[in-house]
Symmetry: C2
């Protein structure tokens, strides 16, 4: 896990360089994303912020998460049900292991994983922009608690 403080500074720097305004709401969202504990959903980020910003609109969270995504500062993890979760702590593509029951997301260390992007580009003629490698299953907790 990257240091949340450093990620926060990096993202704020990126925002500054692109002349985005640093509103309190935006910074609060960035702060949560820079840690991204538990790979939060937009809804979850919104909930976290209810204490400090009781009048904040859900749309503001959506707008800001999308902005960070467009700046390459958050990785979107799409669920089969259409919902999304976000990682602003490790924004580059990396594998996930997802519990289909409790929706927990883990970042495994896959020592044998080699980058196949170049091979795919060569074989298909595509310019590869990104990729995803996600495993779905039942975590130990969910297996035991039943």
């Amino acid at each position: 896990m990257a240091d949340p403080k450093m990620r926060f500074d990096t993202i704020v720097k990126n925002l500054r360089e692109n002349n985005y305004k640093l509103t309190p709401q935006r910074l609060a969202i960035v702060k949560i994303l820079s840690r991204s504990e538990g790979h939060p959903s937009v809804e979850k980020i919104y909930e976290y912020l209810q204490d400090d910003f009781p009048t904040m609109s859900l749309a503001t969270v959506y707008r800001n998460v999308m902005l960070m995504k467009s700046l390459g500062e958050v990785l979107e993890i799409g669920f089969p049900d259409g919902s999304n979760r976000y990682d602003g702590n490790k924004p580059d593509p990396h594998p996930h292991v997802i519990c289909v029951q409790c929706k927990k997301i883990i970042d495994p260390d896959l020592s044998t994983l080699k980058d196949m992007t170049e091979e795919v580009a060569n074989e298909t003629g595509f310019k590869i922009l990104t990729h995803r490698l996600d495993f779905f299953g039942i975590c130990r907790d969910c297996t035991n608690n039943r």
Copy 2:
């Protein structure tokens, strides 16, 4: 690509064994899925069937695609925008290369791909049920035509 006729027969056999009724609508949907040319969406399947079944409901396509999915006879390919495409010709998990512009989906031959499922299971304690490996980029056609 598997022989569509054989896939059709396999799926119909599965339906029979589980006592699902073989309605004309269902069989028509299965026929399209067993070929899955271009990895169709539900909407696309619905369009294909307008000629033969002008009164068919979109919900019927959804219900049947979901049924085939629950029987393990189709693979769902989720797009970042939340929409889904389906493959009933090769229903087991396999990598995809997806053009983010024209939405074309290609199945590449990745010689170096080894199955990491066991490694992930060992490292995380998850019971892995399925996985996905998808590359996103711009295809050759879309690169040239602009």
